[in-house]
Structures are given as C-alpha cells and as structure tokens.
Point group: C2
Chain length 253, copies 2
C-alpha cells in the first residue's frame, strides 16, 4: 500500500465522500498497463465541478477500474477559469495537437476550430482533440477542461458572433496595434482570439474580419510566427495582462 | 525560368552584389531533393550581417549548389534583435526542439542549455539544436540566428553571471510576482529568462537562485506549465511588454 498519488484523472461522475467512480477504458488501460497500478493505490480525480478528490482503487482488471472518492484535496475555485476563448484554423496534425495542448495549459475556456479558405485539414478529429485537451488539463492541474466546439466555417461564425465578446485577431498584415497596448486598452470583458491557417487568411476573409465591429487586430511583432506560436503567444499575453496571471498567486494546494 | 523565391537560407558567406555563395550539403539536398530546384531558380539569402539578398542558382548538382547574390531585398536592421536570452534546462528531445524553435521565432538572441540536478538529458546535441534554430530563423524571417551556447551547469553559470543582466526565473513555488508586473517594473536593460527541468529545480538550486541579486522570480499563473510552455510564455511576455512587439510595427518588406 502506498500513499503516493499516481496521477490526476478527469471523470464525468459527481464526486463526494465515498462516491464510487468507474474509470473509462482508456484510463483503465493507462492505470493498469502504463502506471502498473494496484488495488489501494491512490489517484486524484476532478470533474470540473466538485474540486479535486483523493480516491483509491477499489477494483482493477483489464477492462474495469473502480475508484472510491476519499477526501476533497481542494474545492472547486469560485472564480473558475478566465473567460477567454481560442478560435484557431487547424493546421497540420502535430501543430493542431500542440495548439490544443498549450491552449489548455494557458487557460482557454473554449477551443473552437475554424475552417478558412486556406485551411488544409477540412477533416478535424474533434474527439481526438478533446482527449488531448483532457490530458493537458489533468497534467496542468486545471480545475476544468476546455469546452471543445465543433469546427465551423469563418463566415457563419462571424455572422452569429455575440458582439459583447471582443475578438482579437493575430494580424500579419501589420495593421494591428501592439498586442499589449490593445489588451491594456480593452482591459475587461469576455475575450476571444483567432489565429489563421498556414498562409494566413485570404484577402476576402481579412476584409470580413476588419469590417466586424467586435474585431480588434493585434500585432505579434516583426517576425512571422507559425500558427501554433501565434495561438500560444496570444493567450499568454491575455493571461499576463488581463487574465489570471495578472494578480498575485494563491496556490490551491 | 521563374521569379518565385523558393526559400530563405542562412549562409555564412558575406553577401554583396554578384557575390558567389556555396550552399552547404544539407541546403544542397533540400534545394535539390525537396524543392526540386533548377538553375536560374531564386532564393533569399541572409547571414545575420548583410541583410536579405535575392540570389539565383548558378549551378546545382547533388553535392554542390552555387548561388549568386543579385540584389538586396532588405538591409540589415539597425537595431538588431532585442537583447533577451533564454536559458533552459533541456527536457525530452521533442520538448527541447520545441523550446529552440519557438524561442527563435520569439526573438531570443542567445539560447543556453542549463544542466540542473533534475536534468534528464545530460547529453545535449548542440549541433542539432543549432540546426533547428537556423531553420526556425529562416522561416520566421529573422535577420539573425540565435547564438546557441554550449550547455553549462547552473551553479558555475550563476557564479559567472554579469550582474547587469536581469535573470527572470519562472517560479513554480508561488514566490514570484505576476510576470507582467515585474516586467513593467524592470522595463529596460538586458534580460534573460531561465526555465527549469521537468520536476522543477531542486530546493538547493531554488535557494541559490533566490539569493542571487540579479534574479527576479516571476509567476506564470495558477496552472502548472510544461517546461517548453513556460519558456515560450516567458519570452512572449517580455517581447509584448518590453521587447520589439511593444512598439508599432514597420514591416521590413
């Protein structure tokens, strides 16, 4: 028997003292084959609503792992995750995976693939991206997992946009003001970032974006950033200036 | 004959009108086998000193590509790259490659692997990392390539540190102030960031860092960032607040 916490797992079940929780097939494989877990080993569970819970393994075989919640390690934060979305044109597989993983670490609340005229990968495997986001949330100690939306084309997405949410667009044409200047100016309110595909937005899309009253083009400096770098840099700037990196830290544990 | 510029290549030769330049073996392979270049095709060359030059292919076979500089596309920027270094504890191969690639895009002038007590990969292939940095510089239109240093252990590195350069350390212990606050306070002067290995610095290293008068711990928010995310986020914040993202953009081309 060991008091060591093997890993942190996202579950859909509600968590409370003595709640019984079944791991899904992937988690059962991970616990059994990768971590070589045994009955009585301990893990940390979270579900995005009830905080982090210490749990022990009650039963474990190849198909099925049953866990039991023991005690709350930290309550669900009152404030939740900051209200910032990332809309991104999918790029190559590795780049898109990186966008999803890093945006989860960087605290995006919504991840939304956007299909543009230069988007190569029209087929986006949302289930795989959701799994990537969950794994990143488990590892970075996020209290929630991001809401992974279904891909949508840019034009209808802009047409249906809720105007109270500012949409910052990483702009390669040099028309945007420096990102820190724009963010400091727009300090509060719901925010979203949009990053383009390899090769950028086409001229019609660029015009459409510039005409939208809720769009703020921002400049990410003189070098040409890859799509995934632009996504990470955008969220980083927002968190540092307006998000949950901008006030002194109180560590939950 | 085509006027299309096939790619941008870093070369060590000086560049001037009609200068003859030999591509190295890797570049020759890339031009011949990947891009299927032919004589008279055009490329862009830079060497970190003489600006970007349009060049054409004078001769091309499997072993040898000879290029000729035709005209200057943009002069070398007067100001150069901002004076910010990234010191990083190497992580797994992919993570280290990502740190080097992204730090190059994000404009680090010096890249310096630091060996810590929890650094797994004591053997760092500096030549491979240098090649990764050059490739990233070619693609992001940097006017220089970063100076890739030889790995050094943390303790002697701190002992020999030039005190006029502020060393910002991504601090997981919660002792640092928010990164944007610290950077706004320390607005000018040479800067460096240090990111730790997987598992973080050991307690002795943490103490050593906290005692150094040139060290400023910074907080990167409430989530636990992977080493490569911390490296990217640090450089992003510096560029946005104090670096070359902080003033309006004048595109070189």
């Amino acid at each position: 028997m060991s008091a060591r916490v093997l890993c942190r797992l996202f579950v859909s079940a509600r968590l409370a003292k003595d709640a019984s929780v079944l791991a899904d097939a992937g988690q059962a494989r991970y616990l059994g084959s990768v971590l070589r877990a045994r009955p009585a080993d301990r893990v940390c569970l979270f579900n995005g609503q009830d905080g982090d819970w210490l749990a022990d393994i009650v039963h474990l075989d190849r198909q099925r792992v049953e866990l039991r919640a023991l005690s709350c390690l930290r309550p669900q934060p009152d404030t939740g995750i900051p209200d910032v979305w990332l809309l991104f044109a999918p790029v190559k597989k590795d780049g898109t995976d990186m966008i999803v993983q890093k945006a989860t670490e960087l605290g995006a609340s919504v991840l939304w693939p956007v299909l543009t005229s230069r988007t190569n990968s029209q087929r986006v495997n949302v289930e795989r991206l959701r799994a990537t986001a969950i794994e990143a949330a488990e590892q970075c100690e996020r209290s929630t997992v991001p809401d992974m939306r279904m891909p949508e084309r840019l034009e209808p997405l802009l047409a249906g946009w809720e105007h109270t949410r500012t949409l910052y667009v990483a702009d390669e044409t040099g028309r945007g003001d420096p990102v820190a200047t724009v963010l400091a100016r727009e300090a509060s309110g719901p925010a979203a970032f949009l990053t383009g595909p390899e090769g950028g937005f086409d001229p019609r899309e660029t015009e459409l974006l510039h005409q939208a009253p809720f769009v703020r083009p921002v400049s990410l400096g003189p070098r040409i950033l890859r799509a995934e770098t632009a996504a990470m840099a955008s969220l980083t700037c927002w968190q540092a200036i307006n998000g949950d990196w901008s006030h002194p830290l109180i560590r939950p544990y």
